[in-house]
Symmetry: C2
Subunit: 474 residues, 2 copies
């Protein structure tokens, strides 16, 4: 295991710049979450103007703290940080995380030299530095977080993120979709602990099964390439690269001071190394869902259970655009389906693939045998099911969709192929809240749910492509 | 004005196959909506086995109805329809809408000849036929609808749709996004009244300002091309074409029996004719929103007000991928912005474009002057603003986002450039419900709202492209 494991398990944390106003940024992101998560080590607010903060004894400086301090989170002004670093050396601190910004990301000489000075002092005292210009660590098993509302239960995803804001967004998007994280590191300017080292650690961390990252650039390309290559060999590795266009590169420069580099280079590099590159945060979470829940697919032939004729046409188009194959069902499968549907099938029901249940769906008992029939057909590798919350909606609820969901959960347990579900709603709050409930039930049963045809088919394509490439590399 | 106007204003409607069970499909789609919308003409349920249905006197056959019948909606079995058509001729009915399926879309000889027979009888009696295999007409000003929950207020969008299911989905998606329709025609197999004729009518209809369509194929390509060309010259015309892939073409064949044709042909045709082609239902509504609310843009240079550094990087990448230009603000604009932000700006604030407000946003009074400064800069044609509901979220609400929204509404009134807003939430119901409320306020003020960076930037690109092409055709 990499040397970094200890940074996720400090026995004591000092928050430099904690304030008496509970809504200050430093409290909001660091002090309050430790309290709200029930962090079990010692918490030391440091502020020369306060004697007590949020019910905890405050200290004028880190040197006044009686016991040892493993981890320091710094929220004070950039020009005050060299003095703090010297005190941290004196105190024997192990890790300093700098939330403070105003360093190399400003592009100005002053900030750049300040960052160099900080690192120089840190090295003298064997201190590891996280940041500056970042939110640091979220590790639910250690009860450390940078937002109080993050999930308190952990998962199997390791997430390294160059942007603080994006790290919050991705954890929250994941939370709503049933994705839970084991360790998240927002690393900002990466002046000491950088993306490559975190990646190396996640690669060796047995608690982490899937690695995701948001990266803007790197200062140590060689080490990063080696780290990406090793990680991708062992675990699914999904990267959202910020700064892939010319304007985006400029935005990166003023955000974390990184050199974003050419996207063509990054894209071909990622492809060669087996890294799955995604286009946005939604796509990142979509793909994690599949890796988290689904067994490896045997191929890209997809069987679809649709809801209506028109939506089945659109779903077919979108799946094919994403290079999934929609094989027409052979006669033997079609006749089995026709048998199941016999009593119910209205003339609008198609059995070709997609099976378009149309007005047959009001009888949910047929849903399970239809799903089984398709799953049993060996010409299909993946199954996609479309639930439209609007169809059968009645007075704020949808008995049909609920029964379909139950039947789906029951039947999917017995299947040996990946199953994904698209749940769509009208966009009105009561419809979206209902859809969220269905999604929760499906996710709890380990069935990944997507909000639209294109997001589902794109994720399935990338998921299949991962295993195809892996096979190819063997 | 085209001859079709009368089909939207029947004085009496007979529903053939209405049942005593209120949840039968024919009641659900046709009888109940007329009652729920308060249709002011005569409603005649026709069913030989009932004397009263939903409080209305029922008749054994259409010939037993005392007064004239303008419009017939048919929900009985396909094999019974020729007899019905003969009765409609005898009764002097003007329009027969066949919800019934089992005709040419089955691909079977029996259905194909049945459809021909129906049309032959209709022609003998000067009856116009809508369908078969469709949901017919939604025209809120005439209080006619095929779903009770559709909005009762009308708008300025005309929508022709070959699929019944997709027509419901699109009206409902539009409803949640503030899009209101003037006339919707679900036309199914298009055996008589077809997409070209509806399009011709919408083109001349002064109440319709924007035309949208879902089309799978056509049986009269020449007429359709002329209709598309004429419509696109006069009004924004947005088409979602179903069956654009090989598998999609097959799905179309079994859905509405249309020949979908080659997508390459359709794509180049649409481009030549000035028709905007979209990829899915969401994109269709996204674009309608812009045409509905925004003034024509002068170009594709975009000014962005972002929320955090990382999201601004992603937003920049996505805008540039969609061929929008993100010009760096010149020094004069940057120094104005710096002046406004002076007191508030933390070192993470970037003023380059995107203006990344970062932690400056807690002061909402700066929002309006920032927006004005960017709008005043003549190097920018469009403005995109990002509101992240999660940023500033506190106990089920977000005072910051609410204040930003108010300020945005107030300021946008004075601007002479299109403004679009991305409102993102975490996906948790209370967050999405709050975001929906913000969206409602913005839409009521005529400001279009999008749920993600890619959807906003794609819609803006297509919107600009429409005016570029129009300019080019002049």
């Amino acid at each position: 295991m990499s040397d970094l494991e200890y940074i996720f398990h400090p026995k004591s944390i000092a928050i430099i710049g904690a304030k008496s106003q509970p809504l200050s940024a430093t409290n909001y992101f660091f002090l309050n979450p430790l309290i709200d998560f029930g962090y079990e080590g010692n918490i030391y607010p440091v502020n020369p103007k306060a004697s007590e903060i949020s019910g905890l004894k405050a200290y004028p400086s880190i040197l006044d703290i009686p016991g040892p301090v493993d981890h320091v989170t710094c929220g004070i002004r950039a020009d005050l940080t060299p003095q703090l670093m010297r005190e941290c050396v004196a105190k024997g601190v192990k890790v300093v995380h700098l939330y403070t910004s105003g360093f190399s990301e400003t592009g100005r000489e002053k900030g750049i030299s300040l960052e160099k000075e900080i690192i120089k002092i840190a090295r003298q005292g064997n201190i590891r530095v996280l940041g500056p210009n970042c939110l640091g660590i979220y590790c639910p098993t250690s009860k450390i977080s940078f937002k109080s509302s993050f999930p308190k239960d952990g998962g199997n995803v390791g997430f390294l993120c160059q942007s603080g804001g994006n790290s919050i967004d991705i954890v929250e998007l994941g939370n709503a979709r049933g994705v839970r994280f084991n360790k998240v590191v927002s690393f900002g300017n990466a002046s000491d602990i950088n993306e490559a080292e975190i990646l190396e650690h996640f690669t060796g961390d047995p608690e982490i099964k899937i690695i995701v990252g948001y990266m803007e650039g790197t200062r140590d390309g060689n080490r990063l390439i080696k780290a990406l290559q090793k990680a991708a060999k062992i675990k699914p590795l999904i990267i959202l690269k910020g700064g892939i266009t010319e304007a985006g590169t400029q935005a990166v420069a003023s955000h974390t001071g990184s050199l974003a580099g050419s996207n063509v280079v990054w894209e071909s590099l990622f492809r060669q190394l087996g890294v799955t590159q995604v286009n946005d945060m939604d796509e990142l979470i979509d793909l994690v869902l599949l890796f988290q829940h689904s067994m490896p697919p045997q191929g890209r032939k997809i069987g679809i259970i649709g809801s209506s004729g028109g939506s089945s046409v659109l779903l077919t188009d979108i799946c094919e655009k994403e290079n999934l194959t929609i094989p027409p069902f052979p006669d033997e499968v079609k006749s089995k389906l026709r048998e199941i549907l016999s009593e119910e099938a209205d003339p609008g029901t198609t059995m070709r693939n997609p099976v378009d249940l149309a007005s047959s769906t009001p009888n949910p008992t047929i849903f399970s045998p239809i799903l089984k029939t398709i799953a049993d057909y060996n010409g299909v590798d993946l199954i996609l099911i479309y639930i439209n919350v609007s169809f059968g909606w009645d007075n704020g609820t949808n008995v049909l969709a609920t029964m379909q969901t139950e039947s789906l959960i029951e039947t999917t347990r017995e299947l040996d192929k990946p199953v994904a579900v698209v749940v769509r709603h009208t966009g009105i709050p009561e419809s979206s809240t209902f859809a969220f409930g269905i999604q929760e039930s499906l996710l709890q049963a380990g069935i990944p749910v997507f909000p639209s045809f294109d997001r589902a088919s794109r994720a399935l394509d990338r998921f299949v492509r991962y295993y195809e490439a892996k096979q190819h590399r063997k």
